[in-house]
Amino acid sequence: MTEPVLQVERLSVDYEVGAGTFHAVQDVSFELHPGRVLGIVGETGCGKSTLAHAIPRLLQEPPARIRSGSVRFRGIDLLKLPRWQLPRVRGTGISMVFQEPINSLNPAYRIYDQVAEAIHIRRLRESGQAPGLVSPQEPFDYSKPKMPKTGEVLLKPLVPSRGPASRRPTFSKDAQDLRVTVLEYLKLVRINDPETILNLYPHELSGGMRQRVMIAIALSGRPSLLIADEPTSALDITIQAQVLTLMKELMTEIRTSILFISHDLGVIAEMADDVGVMYAGHLVELGPVDQVYRDPRHPYTKGLLRSAPNKYKAQGPLPSLPGSVPNLSRLPGGCPFHPRCVLAQADCTKDPGPKLTKAVDAAGPEHLAACYYSKEVPGIP
């Protein structure tokens, strides 16, 4: 097994606000190996986005506070890094695609400037003119063979385009070179007519186009880890499909490790190699997607999967979990899921709750569940 790109150990994040302390992420541990895609799935407010923002330390601190744990990214403990060194890891080490493509581009600059800025920074770091903590890596060897995309390989430098001259005059060779690279990345994210797009302002683009530009910016740093925080949830359904297809294709081309956050079980099934299920700030189940989906070993995952309408609606009304999601400032002791769980016994209420361990009788050793009774989960109707 290769060394993991990202090792998160017992990470806990709180929000300290007037109403109390909210434990948004509790004791979350996982590893992400080169070239793999880890999906994190869970309902609204379960801490997915907080987790995603905590890794490159993009949380607003305060109100957020990283209480404990460690985040090791290629050997560097990001939580111990002084704040002023963080920008050196971001962009070329870890980059991120956000939920809101509408506001994630600066309205005051043209698309060209925004993509060029990211490329410029990466080049400064590659040439040693600006300090970067991690060297930008060439694409990884993939630990799992994937289907190569048929057709052109878009990452290869393209011949400078002979399209209509840009309104922005480019004088030096460097500037010309930068422009070609910007065009390359816009083509990489399948933007038609990138020559025109270059000179547009963000408000002139649709949501899907903006998200493509955001993806281009995130990829142009050649990051070793890409965090996609619900990249499609703000888009409408047809555009979602387009952007997901694009990301799927890019995965086979770029082969970066990806942490993919979503609330959509179907999207995760489509995109990810591994899946982590979060509930009330806890990672309750972690394993390869096919195993977790076929044979869930945590009652919560089981409940989630059991409510997929197109699979189960023929069997009558879909089941629902009793009760509601606990308040993150007053989590129940022990397993956070026990008040709603059909398998709960007396020991489920005792602190500390169940750790993420190998699920009993699971198909593979990588399938982990935080449940004392993971053996009985398949028996739940």
Partner: protein
């Protein structure tokens, strides 16, 4: 611009005012170099009075007395004052100083207050050294804002003594806190925008984000406020002079002209003197206010939308409003 023709009026007025002011300053040396003798666009020197001045006899009640004031005529377009000085010359001679006060003092106040506001807004994390600095800046601002600006400016000007520079300093010292507040508020809005987080995620350093992304996005409200403020500063400056603790009397300045002619009781016998100086203040401030209002409409997307809706006939606007809701 198209939606509000007054913006164009304001813009043209500002341009004309600036051109005249530059000519008053620039023409004499350039003209002298070109033709070899002193040249000016002023009809007369601002402090030149003919001696003896042409007199006219004014009768008020039972009294008749001679005065040098002449009503507007083709020779003296705005008339003359009690010493026989040409009013047009004086008003024009005062233009560069008053305009420079308006522009430069406001610019300095905007730069000083703006930089402090940037610091206070951008590095406001509590319990850090930077946060302590930003709190200190804000409390200092509060102290200055606690006094009405005109009263504070008057107090400082009175303490520093009569003169142009003390008056400028007085205004500068009272004017920056408004920019601290304005800029800090805008920075707080902008720095929590997703595009700033996205810029952080792209690996930009704090300073680069501040310079490239934050400043660029707060420029518009600051520009608008600045334009509107030029007029206000001008009025304040004139007010200080009017009260008699500003610019010395031998320096042509609109505020102290109004004050001087008023103490000479010219309102009754030669109202054109006071009206010329007061009218100059009025027109300049009006020009900047119109331009500022127009700029706000053009630059602020919210009021731009309001304009667009106002431009559409109501029958069409109603369904559009429903659709948006």
């Amino acid at each position: 611009m198209r939606a509000n023709p007054l913006t164009l009026v304001g813009f043209v007025m500002v341009v004309l005012i600036v051109i005249v002011a530059s000519l008053v300053v620039l023409l004499p040396p350039i003209g002298q170099a070109l033709v070899g003798h002193p040249v000016s666009i002023l009809p007369y020197g601002p402090n030149y009075y003919p001696s003896p001045c042409p007199t006219r006899i004014v009768t008020t009640g039972n009294f008749s007395y001679p005065t040098c004031t002449l009503p507007p005529s083709t020779e003296h377009l705005l008339g003359t004052d009690n010493l026989g000085r040409d009013m047009l010359s004086r008003v024009m001679a005062a233009l560069p100083l008053d305009l420079a006060i308006g522009f430069v003092v406001t610019a300095f106040a905007a730069l000083l207050g703006g930089s402090l506001g940037l610091v206070a807004g951008y590095w406001d994390q509590p319990r850090t050294i930077k946060g302590a600095i930003s709190v200190a800046i804000l409390r200092l601002t509060d102290i200055f804002l606690a006094f009405p600006s005109l009263v504070l400016a008057l107090a400082i000007a009175a303490t520093l003594g009569r003169g142009t520079l003390p008056t400028v300093l007085a205004i500068l010292l009272t004017w920056w806190p408004y920019y601290v507040r304005l800029v800090r508020g805008e920075v707080l809005v902008v720095k929590h925008q997703p595009y700033v987080t996205a810029a952080k995620a792209a690996g930009l350093s704090d300073l680069r984000i501040l310079i490239r992304h934050v400043i660029r996005n707060i420029l518009e409200p600051v520009t608008v406020y600045y334009t509107l403020d030029v007029g206000t500063v001008l009025v304040t400056f004139s007010t200080i002079s009017f009260i008699g603790i500003g610019v010395p009397l031998d320096v042509p300045e609109w505020g102290n002209m109004v004050e001087y002619y008023q103490t000479q009781n010219l309102m009754g016998i030669a109202p054109w003197t006071i009206l010329a100086a007061g009218g100059a203040i009025f027109l300049t401030v009006l020009a900047f206010s119109l331009l500022g209002d127009g700029l706000r409409d053009v630059l602020d997307p919210r009021s731009r939308r309001a304009l667009a809706q106002a431009a559409v006939p109501t029958t069409v606007a109603a369904p559009a409003a429903l659709g948006e809701a």
